[in-house]
Symmetry: C2
Subunit: 214 residues, 2 copies
Amino acid sequence: MAIPEVVIERLPEYARVLSQFESRGREVVSSQEIGDALRRPGRTSAAQVRKDLSYFGRFGKQGRGYNVRKLLEELRRILGLNRQWRMALVGTGRLGMAILGYEGFEPQGFRIIHAFDSDPAMAGNDAGGLRVHSTDEIEEVLAKSPVDIGIVAVPAEMAQGVIDRLVQCGIRAILNYAPITARVPEGVELKPIDPVLHLQSMTYHLKARAGSFG
Amino acid sequence: MAIPEVVIERLPEYARVLSQFESRGREVVSSQEIGDALRRPGRTSAAQVRKDLSYFGRFGKQGRGYNVRKLLEELRRILGLNRQWRMALVGTGRLGMAILGYEGFEPQGFRIIHAFDSDPAMAGNDAGGLRVHSTDEIEEVLAKSPVDIGIVAVPAEMAQGVIDRLVQCGIRAILNYAPITARVPEGVELKPIDPVLHLQSMTYHLKARAGSFG
């Protein structure tokens, strides 16, 4: 059964709120409580939670809620969160350095093991404990020491070229911070991290609320 | 008619690819071409494009495609992209500085006009041309000079408190970079920018492709 991408994108959020429930010592939660914990206006109702989780089998019993530990284990297994994922970062400018310094990756099993930059002055430097390689060396380095995921933090005009090369190296998942609508072949996952797209969907609501829609 | 949030979230992407078509001198495009330009596996088909855009009236003629300039104008009007939006940034650490230095905001009408940090050593400093205020001054500064949007780039443990204060100050749209599932009251938009959630939905696919699902 094909699971809609929007459902898959919500699963990590379910896993996160379930670990919050677990750390507070809760053993059972209702779909209502999960929905409330995620609550963003108009997004995730109790019915939505039940429907999303039903794609993956029967975790809850009617009227009795979900077993927190079991559901969390199952979600982690489904999402592949019980293993380490190796990542390569391309671009060690201000944004790249903020990504290297981000403390949220490692506790979740995501580790940046290579860093590349096109600026010859950066090559050989230490960036958050990693030696920066020249982007010329992407193919050579990844052939010797492959990664699962690429992170692209280069200027817009370089981004598609870098993405194409990472795909050529066999990378099948790319997190793209460059402000372009990048293209990848079938079978490669690409997620844009683009604050402007998020802002633009919020201004729709700000504008609608100001009464100027229509 | 209530427009699904997933549709609203795709509209900025439509606007972006349409401006790419416009800059290449294209006058008319088909839904197929729009879908292809956005193409991420399993996401946006021509039929999806037609359905999404149909919420906002009839922009295209059957079999003749969409007028690029008119559709783009309409999308910009709908999304509120033809005006300036003022933003306040809370948190001027490594991530906050990368946000201040991000060049994608201003060309799209988003301008950071205030920056706050809880570290007394930062207050009064210059950050990307702005004077950093103490977070103690959030209420005072925003009362004198309000903003439309708040950007939260503080550590996880401080984030909900900062978000609550921004909401109290009347802010109705928040971009949250802190790795928490934050809560906001009804009527306030909150978009999380969380690379880990994106990574975790990609590893679902990596894992499924490796044949280890199930």
